[in-house]
Amino acid sequence: MNEQDARAAVHAAIGEVAPDVDFDDVDEDARLRQDLELDSLDFLRLVETIDKATGVDIPERDYPAVATVKGLIGYLAARG
């Protein structure tokens, strides 16, 4: 998956879990938990949504690597 596709997948998934997030205002360094205010259940749903859309299943041990929007896009681009 190239970075553009990964970005689109991440935006779509976040849009589903947190419809109020406006990407025009979101820096890619934004942290999913603290800045976008996703709680652990939101985050789980995000990982699930991404798995369904892209086939990339992010194991729990990799959660620290996908803590930011940028990290998540990079993770998908490298594996999708």
Partner: protein, 479 residues
């Protein structure tokens, strides 16, 4: 109108999920009600045939007002003299007499018999504007028919099925522009779909497959109409958006803002009552989560993401089990003093993304296997955020847990939801230096707090409750 929470005084009927002549069983969803806090599905308390809908869509009525009349068999429908009492909801303060046979009580205005009211509703006539010519100013069938005839045809209310309305709202279709092919020209789902196919897509919503009876409300399908978050999903969403399936962004509508404001007022009123009447005391303790987190990680490693656990599930289960052992934290305090509850219905405080919170219940949380509790937690939170909760979930938590730590605070001291007698708070799960037996190590840990009612328990029992939670968490495989 059932009571959907201790602080609820009235509710607005948003949608009927049944129509006269439908057969309903106990527990079937019959209506959608909007409180100050959220939109909820209301179930039938009786089995039988819907004879009359007594409250029209958009009407706000006090708790205890009959919403519909249900008769036992189809033969009794419309047969005066054999009518069952109106379907009544349990309520702390009944607004109607238990056996008043025809009781459209608690509604102001001239007297009107339910069949006439139903006729008015069906014809889209506002009974508040009719001058009754019957006995004691009562509105008669003729009055309603006259009022309907006197109105220009263009103003006629568009008859439509609930699912058709929902779909139309999702698709941004104006109902009055759709030609109805249903009974009495009612607009059906098929009509809306046909109309939608004839115009270019106006919004981000997509047509969802229609399945099941009207009562089988699919929470997700319903979101677009009732959920505050969905408010922006109306036609102004750009048709040229690059990702048409993504929910619309933008500023909340005035309706959404009003909902947030009314939720804020409801929370303010309830919390003020709590602090004015409940003598709170507060305790905290640090829970050792080493065993819990290690166990959870080893279990999750072999699971697909959909089946993974989060620490909250372990904490909730332990909180529910411990409440079984310390009944002083589980139940209600009202005029008659403390009533402990045999069941543990664990309220879970859910922060809503648009502001405010609700605390619906996971029923019998102490008896649920951990995986089931996790599943219910996810379902409950997603429905709470979508504004689609069931009446029973809002009405009867016996003990509430707030899990604010999930978003970063170390500890949270909650305000008790009256008439409950305790609130448990869990902070953030972190790795901490941990000294034990003269050695220093690193463990996962979390601060648990208890706010409890001093009229019911003392710190000693409250402390016992928190200690029990910690003990239970040391054997996570038995949770």
């Amino acid at each position: 109108m059932p009571s959907l929470g201790a602080d609820m005084e009235h509710g607005k009927l948003v949608e009927w999920l049944v129509k006269p002549g439908d057969y309903v069983r106990r527990g079937d969803l019959v209506a959608v009600v909007d409180t100050d806090k959220t939109v909820m599905d209301v179930e039938s308390f009786q089995e039988g045939v819907v004879a009359d809908l007594l409250v029209g869509i958009g009407e706000t009525v006090p708790v205890g007002t009959p919403l519909a009349r249900i008769t036992q068999t189809p033969a009794e429908v419309g047969a005066p003299g054999h009518e069952a009492p109106p379907a009544r909801a349990p309520s702390k303060t009944p607004a109607v007499k238990p056996h008043a046979p025809e009781a459209p009580a608690a509604t102001a205005g001239p007297p009107i018999a339910p069949p006439v009211r139903h006729l008015a509703h069906r014809l889209g006539v506002d009974t508040g504007r009719i001058h009754g010519t019957g006995k004691a100013g009562a509105i008669t069938r003729a009055d309603v028919e006259h009022a309907r005839a006197a109105r220009p045809a263009s103003a006629a209310r568009v008859r439509s099925t609930p699912r058709a309305r929902r779909l139309a709202a999702e698709l941004g279709i104006e109902l009055s522009a759709v030609t109805g092919t249903g009974p009495d020209g009612a607009v059906t789902v098929t009509d809306v779909q046909d109309a939608a196919a004839a115009v270019p897509p106006a919004g981000p919503a997509e047509a969802r497959p229609e399945a099941g009876p009207p009562g089988a409300v699919l929470p997700e399908a319903a979101v677009a109409v009732s959920g505050p978050e969905a408010a922006p999903a109306v036609p102004e969403a750009a048709p040229a958006a690059p990702e048409p399936e993504a929910p619309a962004k933008g500023k909340p509508s005035s309706e959404a803002r009003e909902r947030v404001a009314s939720l804020r007022r409801a929370i303010g009123a309830l919390m003020t009552r709590s602090k004015q009447t409940i003598p709170h005391y507060y305790l905290s303790t640090t829970l050792d989560l080493r065993a819990g987190v290690e166990w959870m990680q080893s279990v999750n490693a072999h699971r697909p993401v959909a089946a993974r656990l989060v620490p909250s599930a372990l904490l909730l289960k332990a909180a529910a089990l411990a409440a079984k052992e310390v009944p002083e934290v589980n139940g209600f305090y009202d005029g008659g003093g403390f009533r402990p509850s045999a069941a543990v219905h664990l309220g879970v405080a859910v922060a809503l993304r648009q502001g405010g919170l609700v605390a619906p219940a996971i029923h019998d949380a102490d008896t649920l296997p951990l995986d089931v509790l996790m599943e219910q937690l996810r379902d409950l939170v997603s429905r709470a955020r979508a504004g689609r909760l069931l009446r029973a979930e809002m009405a009867d938590p016996t003990l509430t847990v707030t899990n604010l730590g999930d978003l970063g605070v170390d500890s949270v001291y909650g305000v008790i939801y009256p008439p409950q007698v305790a609130m448990v708070g869990f902070g953030r799960v972190t790795e901490q230096p941990w000294a034990q037996n003269g050695l220093l190590g690193v463990r996962h840990a979390v601060i648990a707090t208890l706010s409890a009612d001093h009229r019911v328990s003392d710190g000693l029992r409250g402390g016992r409750y928190l200690a029990l939670i910690n003990e239970l968490l040391q054997e996570p495989e038995h949770l």
